[in-house]
């Protein structure tokens, strides 16, 4: 008798879920590969798009920061300072909105084939990750232009990229599952992305917020609850070192919220997963 025994019953948790997920890693790889291929198939537009979007955002955000005279650390060019925040933000916003829509976009797969549904949003993030790596070229280009050399802290960068990924996946999974059931969530996604752009430290520095005496403590706590604050502060610390220190308590709150989002996201996604094919 075969060792593959599957028992299908209502309600019971699939104890082999994570093992199943591992067995389907080939599909994960192929779905990511498909999305990347399609994205970069018309090569000129694909790569140009990954460059133009962040580049324009960097210029605009730097201009706004300059206009309102937000402070940048000494010896750090403003464009580099803004670019170091724009790239992780762009990674987050595209991962978040694409994972949120990923289940709907792949509804034909969900209704015809079985696989752990977590693969769909997870593979979507990979495409955004590739976009991120392409856009890192911009950051490097600007740094070369200003002849700015980051310190040794830069080796910690992957860790903060992981944090950005956790944040995007956690929130994306939750919204993706909701989006299957309540289709009007797609109107909320662009709003979250737009709102996030203003409350994240892109044109300004987190240290200005934390050190300000005009801003009450409560607002500072609320500010640090934005998980992207932790990610962006981390990125800036990696590149500018001591010139852009991390506010420890604020950072811990951000990271805790990110992880909480991931746990809630996966929990809710798994709870809803079984009914996806019925309601989509």
């Amino acid at each position: 008798m075969s060792k593959h025994r599957i028992i299908i019953e209502p309600g019971t948790e699939n104890s082999n879920y994570w093992k199943d997920l591992w067995n389907y890693r080939g599909l994960f790889y192929f779905l990511a590969w498909r999305d990347i291929l399609v994205r970069y198939k018309q090569t000129v537009i694909g790569i140009a798009w990954a460059l133009i979007r962040p580049l324009l955002t960097i210029f605009v955000m730097a201009f706004i920061g300059w206009l309102f005279e937000s402070r940048v650390p000494d010896n750090v060019p403003r464009l580099v300072f803004v670019a170091a925040a724009t790239l992780p933000w762009q990674f987050f916003s595209s991962s978040f909105s694409e994972t949120s829509n990923s289940l709907i976009a792949n509804s034909n797969l969900l209704t015809k084939v079985y696989f752990p549904r977590l693969i769909v949003p997870a593979s979507t993030v990979i495409v955004c990750l590739i976009d991120f790596f392409v856009s890192v070229v911009i950051l490097i280009g600007i740094m070369i232009y200003y002849q700015y050399v980051p310190g040794v802290e830069v080796i910690m960068l992957p860790l903060f990229l992981l944090l950005a990924l956790v944040t995007a996946l956690g929130t994306g999974l939750y919204i993706a599952a909701l989006n299957v059931k309540y289709r009007d969530f797609r109107y909320i996604i662009p709003f979250i992305v737009q709102f996030g752009l203003y409350v994240s430290p892109i044109a300004f520095s987190s240290n200005d917020i934390y050190s300000s005496e005009k801003i009450p403590q409560v607002i500072k706590y609320i500010y640090s609850m934005n998980p992207m604050v932790g990610v962006i502060d981390g990125f800036r610390w990696c590149i500018f070192g001591g010139a852009s220190p991390i506010n420890t308590s604020g950072f811990i709150i951000s990271v805790a919220i990110s992880i909480l989002f991931l746990i809630i996201g996966i929990w809710y996604f798994r709870r809803m997963e079984k009914s996806f094919a019925d309601v989509i």
Binding site: H4, I7, F30, L110, D184
Partner: protein, 419 residues
């Protein structure tokens, strides 16, 4: 110990039908609005929100042994597809338990996950992995798949430039090279040209011959009898004929089809469509508008469909069609005013549609007819297997020669010359 590879115990699947909103999706704002209504006016909101439980499957149990090739037979809506979806783990059952011992692959659609922008080569890998093949497995079978699909010179062309025939061939070729212990196949052979269909059936027979278990759904009784050695008949979500010999099952199904067509057309409950206009009666008539029970090949015949509209509305742009099937489930022909004399621009709330056939063009045998009425292209009433009838041998060409009924075919006017 039995060597059952699939054991299905009392599987049920229910869906909640919501009558109140015709929207294709639930919007959060509606949910909030309805809940708010409930708070202020609990009775009214409940009436508004009439929900109905619909059992797509009810207490289905059977066992399948290793190496069985099982056909699943039943009308549309009998629960065949739901059953396959439950077995493929796409949807979870509401009640019951299924135990499956083996690697399972299901083919509910040809070309699932095909991406139009990607080339044939890329789609083979993508589709293969979606169907559960490992990369090494696909690479090993790659040449065989390409060969089978006959698309060698288009491998690097995006599939959006493929003809529909090529597309289907490629898609099926990938699926045909799956090597699971259990293969589940839904009505996918209904596509493609007949040559290729034969090739696919042959391939599936090979698969079954290697001791694999196959579950196969089709409307084509000939294909079922050809491929399967056992069959189950489903009816309204329940098992109507428990798993058994395929010939007995097909016979049982055909008999039940004929019985249900004896029920008054008006009383039939298993109809689909919006229902603003409905078939109520049917009759064959001869030239003098007298009721005709015996039909003869080549004879003049009228088909008379009586209809009624639900609310005395005057309807417009009406099309009526009838599809004639042989008792083996093969479609012979479709007659419809949309194609021949044009849609009826407006019809009264009650009346008859008449379809005139100057010479009945089918050979002797048993036939089944599905009938449908649409308004502005939207289906109003669709009754499957609405009418069954027998045709006797007749002289279609007026030459005294009769095409034997074993040559199951449509007869067409033809003339021959020799120069």
């Amino acid at each position: 110990m039995s060597n059952s590879i699939i054991k299905v115990e009392n599987i049920s699947k229910s869906y909640i039908l919501k009558h109140q909103n015709n929207q294709s999706y639930t919007a959060l704002r509606d949910v909030i609005a309805n809940n708010a209504k409930k708070i202020f006016n609990p009775k009214k909101a409940q009436n508004n929100n009439s929900k109905e439980e619909f059992w797509a499957l009810k207490d289905v149990s059977f066992e399948i042994n290793q190496g069985d090739r099982v056909g699943i037979i039943g009308r549309n809506g009998a629960g065949k597809s739901t059953l396959l979806k439950v077995l493929s783990r796409i949807v979870t059952p509401t009640k019951g338990r299924i135990t499956i011992d083996g690697r399972i692959a299901s083919l509910l659609e040809v070309g699932t996950g095909f991406h139009p922008e990607l080339s044939g080569r890329e789609n083979i890998f993508l589709n293969g992995s979606i169907l559960g093949m490992a990369k090494s497995e696909i690479r090993k079978k790659f040449d065989e798949i390409v060969d089978f699909a006959e698309v060698e010179q288009f491998l690097d062309t995006p599939v959006k430039r493929y003809s529909s025939g090529m597309y289907v061939r490629l898609a099926f070729a990938v699926a045909a090279h799956l090597e699971p212990e259990i293969l589940i196949v839904d009505e996918v052979l209904a596509v493609g040209d007949s040559e290729f269909q034969k090739k696919c059936l042959g391939k599936m027979k090979d698969v079954a011959g290697q001791g694999r278990t196959v579950l196969f759904v089709s409307h084509n009784m000939a294909a079922i009898q050809n491929l399967c050695d056992k069959a189950i008949v489903m009816k309204k979500g329940q098992v109507d004929f428990p798993i058994g010999d395929v010939n007995n099952a097909v016979r049982h199904y055909m008999r039940s089809v004929q019985e249900s067509s004896k029920v008054d057309l008006k009383e039939r409950k298993d109809r689909q469509g919006d229902g603003n206009i409905k078939f109520v009666d049917f009759e064959f008539l001869n030239e003098n508008d007298e009721s005709q029970v015996e039909l003869i090949t080549g004879q003049y015949v009228k088909m008379k469909f009586d209809y009624e509209c639900v609310n005395d509305k005057v309807l417009s742009n009406i099309t009526v069609a009838a599809a004639i099937y042989g008792d083996d489930g093969i479609l012979y022909t479709v007659v419809g005013n949309e194609f021949s004399s044009g849609p009826f621009s407006s019809v009264k709330s009650k009346g008859t549609f008449i379809c005139e056939l100057k010479k009945l063009p089918i050979v002797a045998g048993k036939y089944i007819m599905n009938i449908v009425i649409s308004q502005n292209g939207i289906m109003e009433d669709w009754v499957q297997e609405a009418i069954t009838f027998d045709v006797e041998d007749g002289d279609y060409y007026g030459t005294g020669k009769i095409i034997p009924s074993s040559h199951k075919s449509i007869l067409i006017e033809n003339s021959w010359f020799n120069k």
